[in-house]
């Protein structure tokens, strides 16, 4: 068993990476929006911790800066913005439970296995001690994508998107000891701008369809919507209307 031969710091790194994967699962199956935002903040904090530990273990100076940047941005600023957003949208008590939680979780587990299988040839190349984390980060990306598929609520989908970004960042840190600082700053700025734009979009979506349930975007034309509404309201009263119709016809005559 070669895990024992690794220094304690690198073992700690593996524990942190495993916890990042766990927060991904928490995020996926969290029904309450506020708790999901907290889980996302934890994930950001853990990714920042991984970056910090890689910086200490590999002694690469600019990683300290990107750890700090991640901590401020992903664990504090973006969760705070999301919090403010859902308070203004009055979604604090919003609960959206998954329809088949066990199946959703099992698919996520399959995604983890798939990403491990995908990364296997790379692991055998013996690149760096962090190479095992690449599989984890790929799994985090895929689970974020899966979250965007299974969730109907726009804010939850944004959380999935942001956790995909977390996974990509983790992959960059673990595979190549971090991107150049310019790229990192650019990505951080992009994420921030995306967050602001998402906020604007939320308000737009809610203004046009009165809800943030993205599934309702399928029924955009008003006629279809009205028909659906008519069918809905008419369905229980149908026998009534059938008997009433001859009378109405007579009256018209």
């Amino acid at each position: 068993m070669s895990l024992v031969s690794l220094p304690l710091l690198q073992q700690f790194l593996l524990v942190l990476a495993a916890l990042v994967l766990f927060t991904s699962f928490v995020l996926l199956s969290q029904a309450r929006l506020v708790s999901a935002i907290h889980a996302f903040a934890w994930q950001g904090g853990l990714v920042a911790a991984v970056t910090g530990v890689v910086a200490v273990a590999g002694s690469s100076g600019h990683l300290y800066f990107s750890a700090l940047l991640t901590l401020v941005l992903k664990a504090a600023l973006i969760p705070w913005m999301l919090h403010r957003l859902i308070r203004r949208l009055e979604l604090e008590r919003h609960v959206e439970s998954l329809r088949w939680p066990a199946i959703v979780n099992m698919v996520a587990v399959i995604l983890v296995i798939f990403s491990y299988w995908l990364v296997l040839p790379m692991v055998q190349q013996e690149l760096a001690f962090t190479r095992n984390i690449v599989a984890i980060s790929l799994a985090v990306v895929l689970i974020g994508l899966w979250m965007m598929v299974v969730r109907q609520q726009a804010v939850a989908q944004v959380l999935g998107f942001m956790s995909m970004e977390n996974g990509l960042f983790l992959a960059a840190v673990s595979a190549t000891a971090g991107m150049p600082l310019v790229v990192e700053l650019g990505v951080a700025f992009d994420v921030l701008v995306a967050m602001v734009l998402f906020g604007v979009f939320f308000f737009q979506i809610r203004q046009s369809i009165d809800s943030l349930d993205v599934d309702r975007l399928n029924r955009l034309t008003e006629t279809v919507d009205e028909e659906a509404d008519l069918e809905f309201s008419a369905a229980p009263r149908r026998p009534h209307t059938v008997t009433a119709r001859p009378a109405a016809v007579e009256e018209a005559e």
Partner: protein
């Protein structure tokens, strides 16, 4: 010396089994005491469970006239199976003669046997509560067992053995390593233990409220020494899970030889670990509220997920490293 060892080993094994039966009520008393203190009550003495057992053992047995012989036999089978299961879990020392039996899958099987007879006895008299309790117990255990086995497999894959003594030996003989897989397996096993021993998020051991009880519902028809045996078995089961968690994940201090000093050290270490664990359980039970029964599957799904993540993180992070 070798001769002495051979003579001491069976004595230690018997001592350990006796200690399980003797210390189980004490752990329950300790948990109740801590819980009472946390609720600003003085609470009964730590020895109260012993007094309850003595009182029940002295009382007359009343059996419903619809009961079959199985109803009379079940307490003895449940108690024996649980006690045997407990005797396989190393409490004071590893490498006991019972270690050959101490396979984790055997342990799960023995506990399943006890549960099977408990559920049968619950349904035997034909009262509504007995059947309801039995069906709930089976719901919980059907979901808890895969999670427990998955957690156990995580340990087995790391230690290359499904033997409990083997796992503990592996932990002690290797240098300390932070293992993400053990962390997740520990989480999963704690959740399973809470569900299986009927503690608060799943079942409330202190209530006789008919709509919520699981374990108590099956025992409603029992009285006298039958009830004493059933309750004693439940207490031993709690001690068993506590020891399993304490000794498999934190084995430091357990005796590896049968010298008196090492055994004394083993007793002190396991007592300290169990006191801590009991206090943690009491705090958890004070902080948490009991879940609705239909939330229990979600709770156990989390246990299964944790155990699965343990298995996966072993494969992904630890084997390749």
């Amino acid at each position: 010396m070798d001769h002495l060892l051979n003579a001491a080993a069976p004595v230690a094994a018997v001592l350990q089994a006796m200690l399980y039966a003797a210390a189980a009520p004490l752990l329950v008393g300790w948990i109740r005491k801590v819980k009472a203190r946390l609720q600003n009550r003085r609470g009964p003495s730590v020895l109260q469970p012993y007094r309850d057992l003595r009182k029940l053992l002295a009382k007359e047995v009343r059996v419903a006239h619809t009961a079959s012989p199985l109803f009379r036999a079940a307490p003895y089978i449940v108690f024996a199976a649980t006690w045997l299961a407990a005797a396989t879990v190393p409490l004071l020392a590893v490498n006991l003669p019972t270690a050959a039996l101490a396979d984790i899958i055997v342990l799960v099987g023995l506990l399943a046997l006890a549960r099977f007879f408990l559920a049968l006895a619950g349904m035997d008299v034909g009262t509504a509560f007995g059947g309801m309790g039995a069906s709930r117990e089976m719901l919980v255990s059907a979901l808890a067992e895969p999670a427990m086995l998955m957690a156990v497999f995580t340990l087995a894959m790391t230690a290359h053995s499904t033997n409990l003594a083997g796992v503990i030996d592996f932990q002690l003989s290797n240098e300390f390593a932070l293992r993400p897989s053990f962390m997740f397996a520990l989480g999963g096993l704690v959740l399973v233990a809470l569900a299986e021993t009927g503690r608060i998020p799943v079942d409330n051991p202190a209530t006789h409220l008919e709509l919520t009880m699981i374990h108590e519902a099956m025992l409603l028809e029992y009285s006298g020494r039958h009830l004493a045996l059933m309750e004693w078995a439940a207490q031993i089961k709690l001690l068993l899970y506590g020891t399993l968690i304490a000794n498999v994940f934190f084995p430091w201090g357990i005796a590896q030889s049968f010298a008196a000093g090492a055994l004394g050290m083993g007793i002190a270490a396991v007592a300290a670990k169990l006191l801590l664990l009991g206090a943690a359980l009491a705090i958890g039970e004070t902080v948490l509220a009991k879940m609705r029964l239909f939330r229990a599957p979600a709770f156990l799904n989390l246990a299964l997920l944790l155990a699965l993540l343990g298995l996966l993180s072993h494969v992904i992070l630890e084997v390749g490293a």
